[in-house]
C-alpha cells in the first residue's frame, strides 16, 4: 500500500496564511486519510487471503486434510497441473474458457441487438429500461433455479421447442443450459452499456450518411459500431473477468455434472467438500493468477481503446 499520507504533516499545525494550493479541496493529506478505510478493508479481505493462500498452497500435504505445518513445495501445484488431478483440472480450465468465450460473445451480440431495439423507443422507455434491469436484479441463484425449472424434461423450453431434451442429463445440453441462463441474465446489462454508448453517436451523422445513400446495415457497421466500440470493449473486459470466475450457475443448475465444472467450482469442491486446504489454496492461487493474467493481457491489448472509452463510459 503505497499511499502517501504524510501523517506528521497532518499533525503539525499549518502556519497561518500559507496558501496550500494543492487542489480543489486544498488539502493533500486529507485524501490519504479518506481512502484509508478502503485500503485497510481491501488489504484485510483481499490482500491477506492472497498471501495466506500462497503460504497454505506450499504447506499442506494434499491428502491430509487441514494439517498446515508440512512444507511440500510445489506438490499441490504439480498435482493439479501435471499430477493425478490434471485431467479434472485442465477439463475445468477448458470449460471455464468455453463458458467465458461463448457467454461474452452471445451477450455482446444480443446486448447490442437489444440496445438497438431500445434506442429509438420514446413512449414506453421506462417500461423497457425497467424490464432490462430485472434480469440484472434477480439473484444468480434464483436464475439458476428458474432455468433448471424451465429446462425440465417436461418444462416450458422443451414444450416451446417441441422436443424432449434432457438438458442437464448430458454434456453439451448441460453446457448449453448454463450458457443460456448466463446470457439471459447478463445480455440486458450489456444492452444498458451499449445504449449509453449509442447515445454518444450524434443523430446528425446518421442523417448525413442516410442522405448520402448509406443503407441501415452500412450505417451500423461503418458508424454505429466504431463509435460504440470503446464502451463495448470495456464491457467485454469486465464481463470476461466475471465469466472466468463463474460459480453460482454451474453449482446450482448442474452441480458441475456432465462437463460443467468451472475452475471456481473445481476449486470449491477440492477446498471445502474434500477439506484439502493446501491443495484448494493452490487451485485458488492458480485461478487468481489466471484471471489476473487475462486482465493484464486485455488491458495491454485494449489500453488505447479503454482510455478512449473512459471518456465515453466514464470508467475510472
Amino acid at each position: 500500500m503505497t499511499v502517501t499520507t504524510r501523517p506528521d504533516a497532518e499533525r503539525t499545525p499549518r502556519p497561518t496564511g500559507m496558501a496550500v494550493g494543492t487542489g480543489p479541496s486544498g488539502c493533500r493529506s486529507a485524501g490519504g486519510w479518506l481512502v484509508l478505510p478502503t485500503l485497510v478493508l481491501l488489504g484485510l479481505v483481499i490482500g491477506y487471503p492472497i498471501v495466506r493462500a500462497l503460504w497454505l498452497s506450499l504447506h499442506t500435504e494434499a491428502a491430509t486434510g487441514d494439517r498446515t505445518d508440512v512444507f511440500v513445495g510445489l506438490a499441490n501445484y504439480l498435482r493439479a497441473l501435471v499430477g493425478r488431478d490434471h485431467g479434472g483440472f485442465w477439463n475445468s480450465v477448458g470449460v471455464t474458457v468455453l463458458f467465458a468465450v461463448t457467454t461474452v460473445a452471445l451477450e455482446v451480440v444480443i446486448g447490442t441487438l437489444l440496445a438497438l431495439l431500445m434506442q429509438r423507443v420514446r413512449r414506453g422507455r421506462s417500461l423497457v429500461l425497467g424490464s432490462v434491469l430485472v434480469p440484472w436484479a434477480i439473484p444468480t441463484a434464483v436464475t439458476a433455479v428458474l432455468w433448471k425449472w424451465m429446462l425440465q424434461p417436461d418444462g416450458i423450453v422443451n414444450a416451446v421447442l417441441g422436443k424432449k431434451i434432457l438438458w442437464t442429463g448430458s454434456e453439451w445440453p448441460a453446457r448449453v443450459a448454463i450458457i443460456v441462463a448466463d446470457t439471459w441474465k447478463t445480455a440486458p446489462f450489456i444492452a444498458l452499456l451499449v445504449l449509453a454508448g449509442l447515445q454518444l453517436v450524434p443523430p446528425s451523422v446518421h442523417e448525413a450518411a442516410r442522405v448520402d445513400g448509406a443503407s441501415a446495415a452500412q450505417r451500423f457497421w461503418r458508424i454505429t459500431l466504431p463509435m460504440i466500440w470503446p464502451s463495448l470493449m470495456v464491457a467485454v473486459l469486465f464481463r470476461t473477468l466475471d465469466a472466468l470466475r463463474m460459480y453460482d450457475l454451474p453449482a446450482i443448475l448442474t452441480e458441475g455434472a456432465n462437463g460443467t465444472t468451472t475452475l471456481s467450482l473445481f476449486t470449491y469442491q477440492a477446498a471445502l467438500d474434500q477439506a484439502r486446504f493446501g491443495y484448494g489454496s493452490a487451485l485458488s492461487t492458480i485461478t487468481f493468477l489466471f484471471v489476473f493474467a487475462v486482465a493484464i493481457a486485455f488491458v495491454r491489448i485494449l489500453s488505447r481503446r479503454i482510455v478512449a472509452g473512459a471518456g465515453a463510459g466514464k470508467v475510472a
Partner: protein, 288 residues
C-alpha cells in the same frame, strides 16, 4: 438489422408500419427480459397437481407453495431475515467506507490516486474463489462460521469497488462552487463534506446503496461456504438447498415461490430508482 427506423418528424402523418414496428421492438425487449420472470410467477401459483402444466396462465391459482415456504420444512422466514440483516449491514458499512474514498478520488489532488484507483479496480476483478480457503480457515478459527460478520465483511469488499465508482462519478458531477463557498465562510474540508456534499449527493448515495444491496442480497459463493446452519443461511443458499418431499424430487413450486418473494422487493426498489441505477451502472461500467 434490416431497419433501424429514424425518428419521425412531428409534422409527418401517422406511419402505421413504423408505429407497429416500434411496438414490436418494445415487445421483443420486454419479452426477452420478463418472460422467464413471468414463468416463475405463474409456476409459483400452481399447486402440486398442476405444477408441470405448460399453460401460459395459472388456471386455479393456489398459494400452497407460499404457505409451504414458511412451514417447518423450509423455514424461509429465517433466510429472509438473514439476508435482510446481511445486506443491510453490508450496505451501510460499504457506503460509510466508500463515500470518503470516492470523495478523495473525485475531489482532492491526493498523491497516489492512480494507485488507489488501480487497487480498487483490481479488487473488482478479483475472483471470490481465491478468498475461500484462507477466509474459511480464519473465520473457523475465530468461531465466525454461521455468523453474519463472516458474510458481511467479504460482501463489503466485493461491493466496494462498484460503490466507489458510482459515487465518485456522482461526486465529480456535483456543483462544487457550493463547497468553495462554504470554505470561504470558514468551514473546514470535513465540514464542507458533511454539510454540503452529503445532502447534495444523497441521490447518488441512494443509487449506490441500491446497487450494493442488490449485490449483497445476491451473493452465493461465500455464503454457501460460511453458513452451514439452516438458521444462518441467506436466501440464495436456502433456495439452492431446499429439499423436496423425497430426496430425488426437486420442490420446484416452492423454489419458484421463494424466487418470487426474493425478487419482487428488489425489483420494486430497482424500478423506483431505475433511471439513476442505469446512470450509475453505466458510469461504473461494471456488473453489480
Amino acid at each position: 438489422m434490416t431497419a433501424i427506423p429514424l425518428p419521425t418528424a412531428r409534422s409527418r402523418p401517422v406511419h402505421w408500419p413504423r408505429r407497429i414496428w416500434r411496438v414490436v421492438q418494445i415487445a421483443i425487449v420486454v419479452g426477452y427480459c420478463l418472460f422467464p420472470c413471468y414463468w416463475m410467477v405463474v409456476s409459483s401459483l400452481r399447486g402440486p397437481d398442476a405444477i408441470f402444466s405448460n399453460d401460459l396462465l395459472p388456471l386455479n391459482p393456489s398459494l400452497v407453495n407460499f404457505r409451504g415456504l414458511f412451514g417447518s420444512a423450509n423455514n424461509f422466514g429465517y433466510a429472509l431475515r438473514n439476508s435482510l440483516i446481511i445486506a443491510s449491514f453490508t450496505t451501510v458499512l460499504a457506503l460509510l467506507i466508500a463515500m470518503p474514498t470516492a470523495y478523495a478520488l473525485a475531489r482532492t489532488r491526493m498523491r497516489g490516486k492512480s494507485v488507489v484507483l488501480g487497487l480498487v479496480l483490481a479488487g473488482s476483478m478479483f475472483p471470490g474463489i481465491a478468498l475461500l480457503t484462507p477466509l474459511f480457515q480464519l473465520f473457523r478459527d475465530l468461531g465466525w462460521i454461521n455468523q453474519y460478520q463472516a458474510m458481511v465483511i467479504p460482501d463489503i469488499s466485493f461491493a466496494l469497488p462498484l460503490a466507489i465508482y458510482v459515487l465518485s462519478s456522482f461526486f465529480a458531477d456535483m456543483p462544487w462552487e457550493l463547497e468553495d463557498a462554504a470554505k470561504v465562510d470558514g468551514a473546514t474540508a470535513a465540514q464542507a463534506f458533511r454539510k454540503i456534499i452529503v445532502p447534495l449527493a444523497a441521490p447518488g448515495v441512494f443509487t449506490a446503496a441500491v446497487i450494493v444491496f442488490v449485490s449483497a442480497w445476491n451473493e452465493f459463493l461465500l455464503a454457501n461456504a460460511f453458513s452451514i446452519d439452516l438458521a444462518s443461511q441467506p436466501v440464495t443458499v436456502a433456495i439452492a438447498t431446499f429439499t423436496g418431499a423425497s430426496e430425488f424430487q426437486q420442490p420446484y413450486g416452492t423454489q419458484m415461490a421463494a424466487g418470487v418473494i426474493v425478487t419482487i422487493p428488489l425489483i420494486i426498489v430497482v424500478l423506483a430508482v431505475q433511471r439513476r441505477i442505469v446512470a450509475g451502472l453505466t458510469a461504473g461500467g461494471l456488473k453489480g
